[in-house]
């Protein structure tokens, strides 16, 4: 199924409406249209990393600087970033607002995504990272704003899982 052009736009506008102008990301299919928008928007700074754990450090730098920041990654990228999440963000009380593409879940046709998709929720729970699912384009903007707000008040990583319902047409 193709990636949703409309909903990618809605997610991007939700990020901007939350007052966020700094985005770190590692490109992946579901995030592609979203990242294109971030790249084309002169008011948004997009920092593309070579591996997702780098983005945890960059997000910490943005937080220290006082600039609202969002991290975009696939769930497998989140799995690759866990030591940074635990031993930088959680250890030092640094908020992270993570939008995570939930690949390998209901409806997933590609075998290589499935293991990561199956364990993502349980890993988030094991790490005490609060998470919500984003399925409805009418609600995702509010969810992004709330995720950011909660990350700042709890000084904690927070995850909003971008589902197939939202990201594919």
């Amino acid at each position: 199924m193709p990636v949703s052009y409309e909903n990618s736009k809605i997610v991007f506008e939700g990020i901007k409406d939350a007052g966020i102008r700094s985005v770190s990301a590692l490109p992946e299919t579901w995030l592609g249209l979203l990242l294109q928008r971030a790249e084309d928007d002169p008011n948004v700074e997009l920092i593309q990393v070579a591996k997702e754990e780098e983005a945890i450090g960059i997000a910490a730098g943005a937080y220290f600087a006082g600039d609202p920041h969002v991290l975009l990654m696939q769930n497998h990228g989140f799995l690759a970033a866990i030591n940074g999440v635990v031993s930088l963000a959680q250890l030092y009380g640094i908020p992270l607002c993570m939008l995570i593409a939930l690949r390998g879940h209901w409806g997933e046709p590609y075998p290589w995504h499935t293991r990561g998709g199956i364990v993502t929720e349980e890993v988030l729970r094991a790490l005490s990272i609060p998470f919500e699912y984003a399925r409805d384009p009418d609600k995702v903007g509010k969810q992004i704003h709330e995720a950011y707000t909660f990350s700042q008040s709890s000084l904690s990583p927070v995850a909003l899982l971008l589902t197939r319902d939202l990201m594919e047409d």
């Binding site: 920092i47 754990e53 450090g57 943005a62 940074g84 009380g93």
Partner: protein, 191 residues
């Protein structure tokens, strides 16, 4: 030369810079010279000091950022050199102390121990234009001053002995360090 000597040489220069160090000996040696509110010690998450430095430098173009890194930490996040090169913040100096050892985790050999892996060459290959290799405290101090004057992303690889402080300990809790570092930056921005 010893890393502690190098840090001592540049300590006066760090008074108004945002400094991010890696864990263990490097953090302790800076702390022992006198903690300042503009110092952040990353006591875990090996490899991410330079990523924090990049985030600081890109969001605070009016500040100068100095990262005190080590061979073991850089080897855990080699991709960082490519991201630094790609975004090339003018206000970031990335210092890598290469003691050719995983000193703070037991003194095991690192991939640079036998001199086979060359971190300066890796930085150059990643696309960092200004890379210096130094072996004496004088060279080190000059390289850092040149990097400040250049006003461009600079990597300095300093070959140091695998020795550290005799005692470890800081009167600073980890979140406290983060809170105070953030507050220091906010007050500078408001000034």
């Amino acid at each position: 030369m010893e890393r502690a000597q190098c840090i001592e040489v540049i300590y006066p220069e760090l008074e108004d810079k945002l400094v991010v160090t890696i864990m263990g000996a490097c953090a302790q040696e800076l702390y022992n010279l006198g903690h300042r509110e503009n110092f952040f010690y990353l006591q875990h998450a090996m490899g991410l000091a330079s990523s924090i430095g990049l985030g600081l430098a890109m969001h605070l173009p009016e500040e100068r950022v100095v990262v005190l890194d080590g061979d073991g930490s850089v080897l855990m996040n080699l991709g960082t050199l490519t991201t630094l090169a790609r975004y090339r913040p003018k206000n970031l100096i990335h210092i890598i102390f290469d003691n050719r050892s995983l000193l703070s985790t037991g003194g095991f050999d690192s991939q640079t121990t036998a001199g086979i892996t060359d971190l300066a060459q890796i930085a150059m290959g990643a696309g960092v234009e200004h890379v210096a290799m130094v072996e004496t405290p004088l060279q080190f101090g000059e390289a850092v001053l040149e990097a400040f004057e250049r006003n461009d992303l600079s990597v300095i690889v300093a070959e140091v002995l695998a020795v550290g402080p005799d005692d470890y300990g800081m009167d600073l809790e980890l979140p406290e360090n983060a809170f105070r570092f953030k507050r220091y930056i906010r007050e500078r921005r408001q000034a």
